[in-house]
């Protein structure tokens, strides 16, 4: 297993650069995707009042469809 130093340098400088750029673009798009705004607002508010116990439906009755309380 002898990987030459030059290969590492080349790899970091090419692939490393492009995958970071791709990631930044992807994440920025996700964070600012207009239709997600609602979901983010709801999430931000969801923690303000959360001491009323786990949501019902915990017993396996399809909790995904439960309205968030």
């Amino acid at each position: 297993m002898d990987i030459p130093h030059e290969w590492f340098v080349g790899f970091s400088k090419s692939f490393g650069l492009f995958y970071l750029i791709a990631l930044s673009v992807g994440i920025t798009a996700y964070a600012f995707w207009p239709s997600l705004g609602n979901r983010f607002d709801k999430a931000a508010k969801s923690i303000l009042d959360d001491e009323d116990g786990p949501a019902r439906g915990d017993d396996g009755s399809d909790p995904e469809d439960e309205p968030c309380r």
Partner: protein, 550 residues
């Protein structure tokens, strides 16, 4: 506490503790004459004690079936108390270490009390003991609240919490016996490392299982930070600790890496321990407790996502700034430096997001010391990341490296950011967890706040002065081109700052003691809260214990 476990769970716990005790016995027998043997006895005592605690409650009535209606908070409560205990121990050690630097006679001539041994007891005690327990406890709290789901079972969280503390005990007792791998923040030897891997993987799986049960479509951003903390620390820990034990019956091992690769692996680990242990998880705390305490949603949720990915992906590349001007290839140093400077953007985005959340609620910050803890923590987070990015620039590092400037930077982050956000979160959490009307003494919280702030400021300013003085003295030449100051001259110049640092640290320690006392008094003396609406309670004592409907 035990009454919340079903009989099957108690049996499970006993099997695990019994296995642990057996392993301890084997270690004690095999490692006779080596520190590993002493560790065996410690493991045996720890697991044996747990075995009997659970065993003595084995026959107690089982809990009723209403458990799913409430969150499982027992491990969180214990975790908070353990964190406060470690805070006092770890910071007490810090004050002792600081005193030794000012008055070397305080070493007392024993082997175990030498600087090189108690210093890692301080660092591990505060980072892992205090910080780690605070992170684990708050993560249990937050993951359940934000998922609106109870943890999937009741033995795993105990395994994680107590297993982690066993690691901390083995680590710090080992340092006192002289056991070390000589890797900073990763000093414990191979068997302790292996044990931590087990605990950490269980922790990760527990988190994922809770997330899988969630009743919220979106995973609140605090969870992302906690998950990054758990996942990345696992990776770092495993890679940096790859080593071959010299023998299976002794503590000594040899690293799989050598030379500059070893150095790079260690500081890739070291810096990401800062990033993912001392930053990411605590940002999770910040993103949950600060908005909650201020009763305002986070200023920009989108920004919190963006800074999450920024921090995660930039930090990984920054470790080489610890190795400027070494045998490490120049381009790797430059890479680390560049990423460190870029890191300022997501770091300040987080700090700014926190402060903007408080914009419009400054009267609350003024009146409420708990919220003030969090606000000041965010400010120190901003400060220490700015300083870090600056120190990562190679020529600046040429001055700061090896000096107390680094120590000042460390404690601006560790005391100002990590400890303050933890104390703020603990004060916010304690009344909620124990269902008390409020914290025992608001005055004491105020005292703690001012002591902590004064202590941090004194500490950090002392170290900045000391570090820059030291750095400049080292590079002052006479006309004939020789060094103007001897090493001893620099020590004499630093002495007053060392005294000041010890004093600042003492203030900080007193604050932490007041905090621990206040939380204990809250639990013992404050009346239970009369709930406005029906809190789902767990089936502890008050309700009739029905036999479990199998």
């Amino acid at each position: 506490m035990m009454s919340n476990l079903t009989r099957a769970e108690r049996a499970n716990a006993m099997v695990i503790a019994g296995t642990g005790a057996f392993i301890g016995l084997v270690m004690a027998a095999a490692g006779r004459g080596d520190p590993m043997g002493a560790h065996g006895w410690i493991v045996l005592a720890f697991c044996g004690a747990l075995f009997f605690v659970v065993g003595s409650a084995y026959e107690d009535p089982e809990p009723t079936q209403d458990r799913t209606a409430s969150y499982y908070d027992d491990p969180t409560k214990v975790g908070i108390l353990i964190a406060l205990f470690w805070a006092v121990v770890g910071m007490g050690m810090g004050v002792w270490v600081a005193s030794q630097l000012a008055w070397p006679d305080l070493r007392f001539d024993a082997a175990w009390s030498s600087f090189g041994r108690i210093r890692p007891v301080h660092t591990s005690g505060v980072i892992f003991g205090f910080g780690g327990n605070a992170l684990i406890a708050t993560s249990f709290h937050i993951m359940q609240r934000t998922c609106r789901a109870r943890m999937p079972d009741q033995v795993t969280p105990w395994f994680v919490l107590l297993g982690f503390n066993l690691f901390c005990i083995v680590a710090s007792s080992g340092y006192l016996m002289g056991v070390t791998q000589s890797k900073e923040y990763a000093e414990p030897e191979w068997y302790a490392d292996l044990w931590l891997v087990v605990v950490w993987v269980v922790y990760f799986v527990l988190y994922i299982r809770t997330l899988a049960r969630r009743n919220e479509p979106h995973i609140y951003v605090a969870n992302w930070y906690y998950l990054a903390f758990i996942l990345v620390v696992a990776v770092l820990h495993i890679v940096n600790n790859l080593a071959v034990p010299a023998s299976l019956t002794g503590a000594k091992s040899y690293s799989a890496f050598a030379g500059v690769q070893d150095a790079m692996t260690q500081w890739w680990y070291g810096h990401n321990a800062v990033a993912f242990f001392l930053t990411s998880g605590f940002l999770g705390m910040l993103y949950y407790f600060l908005p909650k305490r201020a009763e305002r949603p986070i200023y920009s949720y989108r920004l919190s996502i963006l800074s999450f990915w920024g921090i995660t992906f930039f930090y990984i590349w920054a470790g080489s700034h610890h190795l400027h001007y070494t045998a490490l290839p120049h381009w790797v140093q430059t890479l680390g430096m560049t990423f460190s400077v870029m890191l300022l953007v997501p770091s300040w985005a987080s700090a700014g997001n926190a402060l903007m959340t408080l914009n419009g609620a400054w009267h609350k910050v003024r009146d409420d010391a708990t919220l003030r803890f969090m606000m000041v923590a965010a400010v120190f987070y901003g400060l220490s990341t700015f300083e870090g990015s600056f120190m990562a620039i190679r020529p600046v590092n040429g001055l700061s490296h090896y000096t107390d400037w680094t120590v000042g930077h460390v404690h601006a982050g560790a005391m100002g950011w990590v400890a303050l956000i933890s104390f703020g979160s603990i004060y916010a959490l304690a009344p909620v967890l124990w269902r008390r009307e409020t914290i025992y003494s608001w005055k004491a919280v105020e005292w703690h706040f001012w002591l902590a702030l004064a202590g941090t400021v004194i500490y950090v300013f002392a170290m900045w002065n000391s570090g820059i003085t030291q750095g400049l003295m080292w590079r002052t030449y006479t006309e004939s081109g020789t060094l103007a100051y001897s090493f001893t001259d620099t020590l004499v110049a630093m002495h007053p700052y060392y005294v000041a640092r010890t004093f600042g640290g003492l203030l900080f320690l007193i604050g932490a003691c007041i905090g621990a006392w206040n939380v204990v008094m809250t639990i013992r003396r404050m009346p239970s809260e009369t709930p406005e609406r029906d809190y789902p309670t767990s089936s502890e004592s008050r309700e009739p214990a029905l036999p479990a409907a199998e």
